[in-house]
Amino acid sequence: MVERLKTVIFLSFFLAIGLLAIILSCALWSNWLPLLVALIFVLAPLPNALFAHCGSDDFSNEYESTPAVDLGRFITSIVVVTGFALPLILQHAEVIKPAASYMSIVGGSLVYGTILAYSQVFKQDTEEF
């Protein structure tokens, strides 16, 4: 119970740092386009979470994936790569400063890593039922 609590506290700490980096990258240059990165990375696990339940019923094993699960993975991968590519595009077109783009990328990957780690850590709970 105590280590669960520690995990939650650490994960929320990383989430806060990631959001801080993204918001700083917007506010320091008063250009709020990098905030889109936070939105994209928050939406990234959504397709996998939705389509994971369409796939397997009780009779099919875990490695036999259906087209719906594949579609979820495809969309997830698209969203994640878009989240990394968008600040670089904006930086290349000289819309945002390079420092802002790197900060938003680091912040976005922290946010996404937090979400992934959270779903990995607390996945075992539901499987016991």
């Binding site: 994936s65 991968s77 969203v79 994640v80 595009i89 904006l90 290349h92 077109a93």
Partner: protein
């Protein structure tokens, strides 16, 4: 997973089989993720060219010149065609193509599946050819500066990456079930 011995498996070609690495059972997922990443990368390259064109400034020694060329709707067309082709090819149920005659008395289904597959491949090839011809006709023949020719090269790179994504997605969908049927098209 128990693979039959070489003497018994008629599909084996090589004497020494490829060792099965631990991530081989996840290769379908890995392939699908890689295809999605390539798909997003392709469109990122093209949108990069679009954003550059939208923010292009005339050279500093002649600030009142107009920028000679922009990314217009014409540049979008090859990408749209290739994306449509990718979707059509990968939405076809592969078992319809491979199960020749096992759905007895329904040859029209196989025929229709092949027709759509042909349309998809034609769209992809047309998109790639269109992007190359766009690069040549719109950017290279007109002798623009290299920073404007980059728009055309980004377009070709987008279409090549989309084709690669389609190939990887096609292979990944076969990966898990290759012991049930071997690829015959």
């Amino acid at each position: 997973m128990s693979v039959p011995r070489a003497d018994y498996d008629p599909r084996r070609i090589f004497l020494i089989s490829c060792p099965s690495l631990p991530f081989f059972k996840h290769r379908r997922a890995i392939g699908v993720y890689a295809a999605g990443a390539l798909f997003a990368l392709a469109h990122a390259m093209f949108f990069d060219a679009c954003a550059l064109s939208a923010h292009a400034k005339p050279p500093p020694d002649a600030p009142y010149d107009t920028v000679p060329v922009h990314v217009t709707f014409v540049d979008w067309i090859p990408g749209i065609f290739t994306t449509l082709g990718l979707l059509i090819i990968n939405l076809i149920d592969k078992e319809r193509l491979l199960s020749e005659g096992s759905y007895g008395g329904e040859p029209t289904i196989i025929w229709r599946a092949r027709l759509f597959l042909f349309i998809g491949f034609a769209l992809m090839a047309g998109g790639l050819a269109g992007s190359v011809s766009l690069l040549v006709l719109k950017y290279i023949i007109q002798n623009y500066e290299p920073r404007f020719q980059y728009y055309g090269y980004a377009n070709v790179a987008q279409n090549v990456a989309l084709m690669l994504a389609a190939v990887i997605l096609w292979l990944a969908q076969h990966a898990s079930s290759e012991y049930e049927y071997n690829l015959q098209l």
